[in-house]
């Protein structure tokens, strides 16, 4: 059973460019959440997708956008990159319809984005 996968592993961009990160959820999961982890910090919630719609959003500007496809995979897009966008971007998947309470999210290995 494949876990959460993310691509690419590493990415280097320059200020002002645009970037797309990709995530495939764990088999059987229907919900994808994205987090940004700056160096030395805990992950910060960006947004969550379910049924191809943005379900929740954290405190991130509109430069951050996403998409979920019918096969539940997801993309994170960041426009007009800033130096401060350099971080590890983590994708997590979960299943909304689980009977047990508590939203257990399973994380991928992340994409390390460096903005120069």
């Amino acid at each position: 059973d494949a876990g959460v996968t993310q691509s690419p592993t590493h990415l280097i961009k320059t200020r002002g460019q645009q970037v797309t990160l990709r995530c495939s959820p764990k088999s059987g999961h229907d919900t994808v959440s994205w987090y940004q982890q700056a160096l030395g910090q805990g992950p910060q919630f960006i947004f969550q997708y379910y049924e191809e719609e943005e379900r929740q959003r954290g405190n991130f500007p509109d430069r951050f956008s996403g998409h979920q496809f019918p096969n539940y995979s997801s993309e994170l897009n960041v426009n007009a990159l800033l130096l401060g966008d350099s971080a590890l971007y983590l994708c997590a998947s979960s299943f909304i319809g689980r009977a047990d309470p508590g939203d257990t999210q399973y994380f991928g290995p992340g994409t390390r984005l460096t903005v120069l």
Binding site: Y35, P43, Q44, Q56, G58, G102, D103, Q105, F107, P109
Partner: protein
């Protein structure tokens, strides 16, 4: 609003001695609480979760955590540290259940031979 506070940014123990990583939470709801571990240059791995079924939660690799509502705490313990336990540990609350996760700032655990 939900939040978690990890009381120590760095904990250092000797191999074979007990581990205690402290976490306090704030929640308007009956919380779902988690501990995740992150090894260097790796993603996050779920250690254990609390969802009101039992106050003492056992996780992987010998870790356990006790939910204490009166103290709003969810401390992580392990009886005997192993070198492979050296990593960053995050205490996490779900906001609300089925929602996004709110992470503490993390506690770096060092294990000395």
């Amino acid at each position: 609003a939900q939040s978690v506070t990890q009381l120590d940014s760095h904990v250092s123990v000797s191999e074979g001695t007990p581990v205690l990583l402290r976490c306090n939470y704030s929640s308007s709801y009956s919380p779902s609480l988690f501990w995740y571990v992150q090894h260097p240059n790796k993603g996050l791995q779920l250690l254990l979760k609390y969802t009101s079924a039992a106050t003492l939660v056992k996780g992987i690799n010998g870790f356990e955590a006790e939910f204490k509502k009166s103290e709003t705490s969810f401390h992580l313990t392990k009886p005997s540290a192993h070198m492979s336990d050296a990593a960053e540990y995050f205490c996490v609350v779900s906001d609300p259940p089925q929602g996004n996760l709110i992470f503490g700032k993390g506690t770096k655990l060092s294990v000395k031979p």
